[in-house]
Amino acid sequence: MSPFTFVTLQYESGDWDSAPLVAANVIDAVVRHTSLEVTPAGRQVALGSSELLGYPFAFLTGHLPVRFTAQERAGLRTWLDRGGFLFVDDHNHDVDGIFHKTVVEELAAVAGPLSRLPTNHPLYRVHFQWPDGPPNTSHELNGWGDNLVHEYLQGASRAGRLSVLYSNKDYSSEWNFHPDNKRFYAIDNTRFAVNVVVYALTR
């Protein structure tokens, strides 16, 4: 069995590499909290490339407007149809932000409209337990961005399976630090990333 590989998607528009430390931090969290075999370093894969088909999990983030090319749209559609799981996070933490508006349009065109995930969704219980829905980020609690606490995540399904998970809680900022600095935290704030990975691997 090949190990789990955390893939960050490269796309032509915007700034796909706005949170370069997320991959290392998520990998660290998965290794700390599970027995899953994990590729030690994340990979960056171009959205329109056939290489993506070798990795069923991918993460997409950014601050800037997102406009997929035709090749990127077709590649993403094929990848999702075949069973890929896409985790998209808005690095702006701004409900009216330009990343949010544009990426939601692109996702709706490829994967269908996003819908709200209920707080009892298995995503919140698959490994660690969040009975009240997604954990809040320090940016939300500090009133940054749109000064809102986003209470839910959104998703799009294919054949009854969640294939796109969308967050505008800005986990990209929350998790964009060197894993060594986790020793300064009373509670590991990347535990929710473990749930996302375990969910993708098991549902």
Partner: protein, 420 residues
């Protein structure tokens, strides 16, 4: 004018002939002469006639296949003493149709047909396939009534099949991995009810580390099969008893090497075979998967090879069936394969599971799946009409006439010479 002595001899002869005719009638000479049937369509009428009034012999010339009812009737007449012979006035092509449960959750039937060109597979609604060549063909059909093959030479009907409820739940057990997730997804896509038991062991999860939708207990009343994905998959309690009582088991990758399944496994696991580069996108995508080399048990049968190496093997374990599938990471076929690989991967997986499960149905009545073979089995090879003894060829009416004529001749002779 014969002398009185000669007339007495004539009278005695006539009396003897009359008595002989009556004796022949009394000894059971047939009531009717041999009966010949020139066309298959005339057979039912001839059989009715031969039953109402037994015949010494029945000669049948077939120009098409007779049905099961007529075949049984002819056989019964032969057992009752009628001499039966048959031949064919023209060449009759073999005709066979067999139906088995395909084992898939939709209750589909696996149909195999051997029929001459121009035949049609039909059910009560209408034609399903038209057979365009003199060859055996096979395919899937939905359960239906009146399934049969109509050919110019006759009609073959398989046993009627009725879909009944049976467990189609499959448990996929794995250490959390893409393979387990994609196997479950493939089976769900094909209509199987899938429950998963994916483990994420160790770590510091505060509420335990098992991710499962599986019910507690394996039972053939509720489960059709178990898929163990890799050696790291935890073996469910009661698995051996489940298989021996009729459940199916698929051992994927190196799962067959686990000590807990050694008594069930059709093979041991050897070194792995590397994938053929580029084959995933070819017409033979499984060659692009890494596979474990299997060493089949003497009781097992090899089902798929890569070159000289066995990669899929199967065996029975009491009432159950076990399949060892050496392929590793079949999800790559689904993700990286050519157009249509999602469906192909799902169909392949559904077939693997179906091969170890019991069919979802029961036979409810007999059909006539191979009428030409059954005719030969019932009546033997074609033969010429037998030559019957003279008495056997005489009708009772002729014997009665001979007897009456003989007695009348003797009586007249005696009256003419003045003897009462």
């Amino acid at each position: 004018m014969p002398s009185p002595g000669s007339r007495r001899w004539l009278e005695r002869g006539a009396t003897a002939l009359g008595l002989a005719a009556m004796a022949a009638m009394a000894l059971g000479a047939p009531d009717a002469p041999p009966l010949a049937v020139a066309h298959t369509r005339d057979l039912p009428g001839a059989l009715r006639a031969a039953t109402r009034r037994p015949v010494a012999a029945l000669r049948i010339e077939l120009d098409s296949l007779a049905g099961a009812r007529d075949r049984a009737w002819v056989r019964a007449l032969r057992r009752a003493g009628t001499v039966v012979s048959w031949g064919a006035s023209r060449a009759i092509s073999p005709l066979t149709v067999t139906v088995d449960p395909a084992g898939t959750p939709d209750g589909a039937l696996a149909v195999r047909v051997l029929a001459p060109q121009g035949s049609r597979l039909r059910d009560a609604v209408g034609d399903l396939w038209r057979i365009d060549a003199d060859d055996a063909i096979e395919g899937r059909a939905a359960p239906g009534t009146g399934l049969g093959v109509a050919a110019p030479s006759g009609v073959a009907t398989p046993p009627a099949f009725e879909h009944v409820a049976s467990p189609q739940r499959v448990r996929v057990v794995a250490a959390a991995s893409w393979e387990g997730r994609f196997v479950a997804e493939a089976l769900r896509g094909e209509g199987w009810e899938v429950e998963t038991d994916f483990t994420v062991t160790a770590g510091a999860a505060p509420t335990g580390a098992r991710t499962t939708t599986a019910s507690a207990r394996l039972d053939t009343a509720t489960h059709a099969a178990v898929v163990l994905v890799g050696r790291a998959a935890p073996v469910p309690p009661g698995l051996a008893a489940f298989v021996r009582s009729g459940g199916g088991l698929v051992l994927l990758g190196d799962a067959a090497s686990g000590p807990a399944v050694a008594a069930l496994s059709p093979a041991t696991v050897g070194p792995s075979l590397p994938p053929t580069l580029g084959a995933l996108a070819s017409a033979t995508p499984r060659r692009g998967l890494r596979a474990w080399r299997l060493r089949p048990d003497p009781a097992a049968v090899a089902l798929e090879r890569r070159g000289a190496d066995v990669v899929v093997a199967a065996r029975r374990a009491a009432l159950g069936r076990v399949l060892a599938v050496g392929y590793d990471e079949s999800w790559r076929w689904r993700m990286e394969g050519p157009e249509g690989s999602v469906d192909a991967h799902a169909a392949w997986w559904s077939g693997l599971v179906a091969s170890v499960t019991r069919g979802p149905g029961a036979w409810v009545s007999d059909g006539d799946p191979a009428p030409w073979a059954a005719w030969h089995a019932a009546l033997g090879a074609p033969s010429a009409a037998p030559v019957l003894p003279v008495l056997a060829r005489l009708d009772d009416r002729w014997l009665l006439a001979v007897a009456l004529l003989s007695f009348l001749t003797g009586w007249l002779s005696r009256r003419l010479r003045g003897v009462p």
